[in-house]
Structure formats: structure tokens, C-alpha cells
């Protein structure tokens, strides 16, 4: 995972697309949840955050 994050960072530097960073972070957080929980148990997490 660490090498993956390093590569994403290098990618953003080379492409000069740092504005993608918050999207990546959100996606990895929520996407990870969606994948792990297969969609059904995501709602409680979202309620607690917002």
C-alpha cells in the first residue's frame, strides 16, 4: 500500500494534478468502505461523519 501511495504522489507531481489529491483521499476512504462492505453497511459511517 505504501508503494502505491508513493506512486500516486509521484504521478500527481509529474502530471501537476495536485487538485486530484482530495478526490483521491475521499475515494480511497469511501471507496474502500464501499468495496469492503459491499455497499450495504456504508450508511451508518456516513451518518456519523455528517
Amino acid at each position: 500500500m505504501l508503494s502505491f501511495l508513493r506512486e500516486i504522489w509521484m504521478f500527481m507531481r509529474v502530471r501537476k494534478k495536485f487538485w486530484l489529491l482530495p478526490i483521491f483521499v475521499m475515494m480511497i476512504l469511501f471507496g474502500g468502505l464501499v468495496v469492503l462492505t459491499k455497499g450495504s453497511a456504508v450508511a451508518p459511517f456516513i451518518y456519523t461523519i455528517f
Binding site: R15, L20, G32
Partner: protein, 611 residues
């Protein structure tokens, strides 16, 4: 230095092995797994390539993948953002797959490769090339040209959908690109979808259907869908398409423009579909011709190399050649994504490693595209015996003579010889052959042998030295990627009554001395056969010419509709027993249908999902 090229995870995964710039082997995974357009990691294609070179994975210096997953993900995200919130349903469907798998392709590749070579440092030995750079490399580096202009066009890679490049020696420079969503390949695919065929595989059916129609909608396409500039650059009006945000290619506005919804697959074909096919084909040709013209002016080159899925549009290729902006044209036979594996390996060798490029005189580096597995006579006999086949082993002279006997008797003959072809075309290695002079051959082959739509034309193989006597072409077309007309003296003019026939009914009217390979507009998709690359097939054509005066044969791929082209002698035997192929020639073995055990007959017609 050995470099293994890979393409995988989208469609048509493949592997190719390059040794000091020489192509040793290349094959598509679907041929081994028997799953059409197999997109999984190409385990078996890799195993084959390594076995052909007699090496193990640890003996390979680099592995090169044909595109860059992060760049593709960037395109996906930016597209969703640009169209938000419209693409939300598609976003929700696509993201889990990306977050689970596709974004981690490097790890996926490393894990797969580690299984075969656990001690290898994959962090430094795994290289990634851009999709269109891989296509351009597959078009230029194996070509016979020291210097050339390069044009690659496809659906989409990372961002690029069209690239114009210049190649010289072992270097290749991309000059200009057109980016997603503006894509010639996707425009053609939109019409493939709209005319009721499968996107990513039915495009060649649209091309085959075009000559039955009139380009009635071409102006509507140019006025509404595409903003085409004089230099061939273009933009699509995305309000007519759904592929950026939806799960279909076209939308309601597109339906309204062309007066109705898309045809459903297997629904009856009408003149409208034929006119739509003719229209999009005409527009594609116009765009490609303008791009070629501006590339010729920009680079000053007289040689052109083509690759990318659009380069399989041999009708457009023939028009580029006839337009005269370029004197010589070379098209990568595996122009689609499978060829990306080869391009990635060649790109890594020449561009990353600065490997020298050796030209081979007038010959290209593809060895006739016969880059797949071959079987020795002993192996063929052993495999056929194990499969329960009844066959006779004969010498070369008898093999050719008996095959010619079968062809003259209008039999459909399975022809399995030497190494398997790399790319979507059968070129006399894994082919079904027939007599092109027979007026009923096209129908027989389509309906009884291949189980496919009756409108689809067949292609001729002709000896290179005879091509100009039969077709309006005097150039090499070894990979069946150029279309030209049958020469006028060999055509048969239609009567007024025949002229009035509608669409597909015209197909049954003989058009020339070789009706089985002459399309309704007198065109033919030509393969020139060269003694240097396929001596046995050349000898067969020579013998057929001696017997009949005709150096042309019908050549179609050895498979039924929806089935990958056969790879092994067993595949060939199964296809033979499952279709109306009457005679099978494998190496020096001859099999006749009437001699076979009837219990081994198979029902092949509905065995494969339609393409």
C-alpha cells in the same frame, strides 16, 4: 536483451517476446483459453512465448505493459467531474472495480509475475508504456521503413484517441494527439451499437455492411455529430453520445437525429442500417484521408505506418493508398489492443533501452505475422489420434494435389499449417479455404460452415506476383488490410433487373470471375501471399492456378461465429466435426468428413456466444 510485452485487463489480452529487437513470438490469450476477447492476465500466452524462446521468466530482462493505469484513472475521474452529476450511475458501477482492482494493476501484475519468478526485482523490471505509444511502436518498429510517418487511431487509450507521430531509426516522436472524448473509434462504435452489433467486436460487420447502403446520413453526421477541420482534426458534439456518462453509446438525441431507436441485436436488418453503415464509413474515410494528408505535409514522409483498432478498417486503408499522399503503407496486422503487447516490448527495447533497430531489406519484422505456436508432424499425428480422428499422412506433393482436388470439387477445406497468426486475420496458417470461382461458396461458407450473417463478405488470398492481374492493386498486402476492386475485365456487369435488387439480395448476383470474394461494390479485402513467408500456402495457390488458371482462393478464419480462431490440432478437429467443413488438412495429415466416426460429431452452431 529479452523483453516480454503484455496487454491485459481490458480486452484481447496478449503476450509478445522480443529478443534484441527481433520478434520471437506473439499470441493472444483467447486462442489458448478458447474464450473470445479474453481479457484476463495472459498466463498461457506468456508460457507459450517463453517456451518458443526456450527460456524461463527469470531469463527475461524487462516486462513491458501496454498502457498506464493511473493515466486512465485520471481520465475517468476528470470525465466524471466534467459531466457531473450526469454520470453518477456509471460512476457507481465503475469505481468499485477500479478501487478494488484496476488501480492496483502494477501490484496485480507483480503478483502474477512473482508466481513464476519469485526472486526477480519486479519494482525495477516492470515498465509501462502509453497506450498510443505502444500502438505507434507496433506500427513503426516492425515496418520495413527506416523513416516513416505514423498514424494511430482507436477508441481510447489513456487520453489519446488519435496520434500523429514520426519515426526514424530506433526513435519515435508523437507530434500531435486528439484526446478523449473526441474519438473516431468511438464514433464508429456508436454506429456499431446503433445498427445492432456488439461494440468492440462488431465494427468490421458495419464495414462489411456499408457497400449495401447509400451514405444518406453522411451529411447529417458531418453537420451534427462531428466538427471536422481541413487538417483532419475533429471534435464530437457530446450531446448526442452517452458513452462518457452512461452505459450506452448513444442517447435519445442521437435516436431523434437518425429517426428511431437502435436496432436490437439479431433483429431483422433493413436498408436503414445499411445506409447508416455506409454513412459512418464515408465519414470515417473522410477524416482518415484528411489526417493522412496533413501528416504527409507535416512530416514530408512518403511512408506511412498505421495501427490502432481503426487501422483494421481496410476499406479506409485502401483509400489512403490510392489518395497518393504516401507511396508506401505498412499496417500492423495486430492493430488492435493485442498488438499493444508487441508495441510495448518494442517500445521498451528501442526507446527506453536505446536498442538498435535492424532492418531486413524489403521484408518487415513480423515474419508474415506467423508468430504463434506450430506443431511437428509427429505431434500432430499423436494429437489427432488421441482425439479419435481418422486421417492419412501424405507427402508434400500429394498433400497439395489432394487439397487442390478438394477445392476444385467446391469443398470447404480447413487448412492448418505452421505457426498460428498473431492478429485477428487468418493468413493461411489457420484458415478455411474455398474455390472463389464458385457462385455458391459465399453462402455455403457463411451459413453452413461459419454460421454467421449471410451479408458478410469473404476475402481472397492471391499470389503476390498475380495480384495486379486480378485486382486494382500492385502493392504488398500480406495482412489482408487493404481493400481494392477486382480489375474491370474480370468483372461481370449487372443487368438492369439485378441492379434494382434490394440490399442483401444483391449478394447472390455474381459480380466477377471470382464471385465468392467480390463484394457488391466489386471490392475485395486482399491478402497477398509471399513465397518467403508462407511457402506451403504459396505452393497451394500455384498448384490451384496450374489446375484452374486462377491464383486466388477464398480465405476465412478457421473458426465458427463467436469462436476464437483454432490454435491446436484438437481445436481444428473439433471445429471440423462441429461444422460443414468437408476436408481438413493439418500439417501433412488429410482428414475427410465421410471417414470420421459419426459419434464424434459435435453441435457447434450454438456453442459460442454470438459476437
Amino acid at each position: 536483451m529479452r523483453i516480454l510485452g503484455l496487454s491485459a485487463f481490458y480486452h484481447d489480452s496478449a503476450a509478445a517476446l522480443v529478443e534484441d529487437g527481433r520478434i520471437v513470438a506473439a499470441a493472444q490469450e483467447e486462442r489458448f483459453t478458447r474464450k473470445k476477447h479474453d481479457s484476463g492476465f495472459p498466463h498461457r500466452a506468456v508460457d507459450y512465448c517463453l517456451a518458443e524462446a526456450g527460456v524461463a521468466l527469470k531469463d527475461v530482462d524487462y516486462v513491458a505493459f501496454y498502457d498506464k493505469p493511473f493515466l486512465k484513472f485520471e481520465r475517468l475521474l476528470e470525465t466524471y467531474l466534467a459531466f457531473a452529476p450526469r454520470g453518477f450511475p456509471s460512476f457507481v458501477k465503475a469505481m468499485p472495480l477500479w478501487l478494488k482492482e484496476k488501480l492496483f494493476q502494477k501490484k496485480l501484475l507483480k503478483d502474477e509475475l512473482k508466481q513464476a519468478a519469485p526472486d526477480f526485482d519486479w519494482e525495477t523490471r516492470l515498465l509501462f508504456g502509453e497506450h498510443h505509444q505502444s500502438h505507434a511502436a507496433s506500427a513503426f518498429f516492425p515496418s520495413p521503413f527506416e523513416e516513416a510517418a505514423i498514424l494511430t487511431m482507436d477508441g481510447v487509450g489513456e487520453w489519446a484517441t488519435t496520434s500523429l507521430a514520426h519515426g526514424r531509426g530506433n526513435r519515435l516522436e508523437i507530434l500531435r494527439e486528439i484526446h478523449f472524448p473526441h474519438s473516431l473509434g468511438l464514433l464508429y462504435s456508436a454506429f456499431t451499437y446503433y445498427t445492432g452489433f456488439k461494440v468492440n467486436s462488431g465494427e468490421y460487420k458495419v464495414m462489411g455492411l456499408a457497400p449495401y447502403g447509400e451514405p444518406k446520413y453522411a451529411q447529417a453526421i458531418l453537420d451534427n455529430l462531428i466538427d471536422l477541420k481541413p487538417d483532419g482534426s475533429f471534435r464530437l458534439d457530446m450531446s448526442y453520445f452517452d458513452y462518457c456518462t452512461g452505459l450506452r453509446m448513444t442517447n435519445a438525441k442521437f435516436d431523434a437525429l437518425f429517426g428511431g431507436p437502435a436496432r436490437q441485436p439479431e433483429q431483422w436488418m433493413t436498408q436503414r442500417e445499411m445506409d447508416l453503415a455506409a454513412s459512418v464509413q464515408a465519414v470515417l474515410e473522410e477524416v482518415v484521408l484528411r489526417l493522412a494528408k496533413s501528416l504527409a505535409a507535416e512530416t514530408g514522409q512518403k511512408n506511412l505506418c498505421l495501427a490502432g483498432g481503426v487501422a483494421l478498417n481496410c476499406v479506409a486503408n485502401g483509400k489512403i493508398l490510392r489518395a497518393g499522399d504516401f507511396q508506401r503503407l505498412w499496417i500492423q496486422p495486430a492493430a488492435g489492443d493485442a498488438g499493444g503487447a508487441l508495441g510495448a516490448a518494442l517500445n521498451a527495447y528501442h526507446q527506453f533501452q536505446d536498442g538498435a533497430r535492424q532492418l531486413n531489406g524489403a521484408l518487415d519484422g513480423m515474419a508474415g505475422s506467423y508468430l504463434g505456436p506450430a506443431y511437428s508432424q509427429a505431434e500432430i499425428e499423436q494429437r489427432l489420434t488421441a482425439a479419435g480422428a481418422r486421417f492419412a499422412s501424405v507427402d508434400d506433393a500429394k498433400l497439395i494435389a489432394e487439397t487442390v482436388d478438394g477445392l476444385v470439387a467446391e469443398k470447404a477445406i480447413g487448412w492448418f499449417q505452421g505457426r498460428m497468426e498473431f492478429g485477428p486475420r487468418a493468413l493461411g496458417g489457420r484458415s478455411i479455404l474455398g474455390d472463389p470461382r464458385s457462385p455458391s461458396m459465399q453462402k455455403t461458407l457463411n451459413l453452413r460452415v461459419k454460421y454467421r450473417e449471410s451479408f458478410r463478405p469473404f476475402a481472397p488470398s492471391v499470389r503476390r506476383e498475380d495480384v495486379a492481374d486480378w485486382f486494382e492493386l500492385d502493392a504488398d498486402s500480406p495482412y489482408m488490410l487493404l481493400v481494392a476492386d477486382v480489375v474491370a475485365p474480370r468483372r461481370r456487369q449487372m443487368t438492369a433487373e439485378e441492379q434494382a435488387l434490394f440490399g442483401i439480395d444483391k449478394l447472390n448476383v455474381p459480380r466477377s470471375e471470382i464471385p465468392a470474394v467480390t463484394h457488391v461494390d466489386y471490392s475485395a479485402r486482399i491478402q497477398t501471399v509471399h513465397a518467403e513467408t508462407n511457402p506451403r500456402y504459396h505452393a497451394l495457390l500455384t498448384a490451384f492456378k496450374q489446375r484452374t488458371g486462377c491464383p486466388v482462393l477464398v480465405n476465412t478464419s478457421f473458426n465458427v461465429r463467436g469462436e476464437p480462431i483454432v490454435c491446436t490440432p484438437e481445436d481444428a478437429f473439433r471445429c471440423f466435426m462441429g461444422s460443414d467443413i468437408e476436408m481438413l488438412v493439418v500439417g501433412n495429415c488429410i482428414l475427410r468428413k465421410e471417414d470420421q466416426n459419426p459419434a464424434l460429431k459435435l453441435d457447434y452452431k450454438d456453442k459460442f456466444e454470438l459476437d
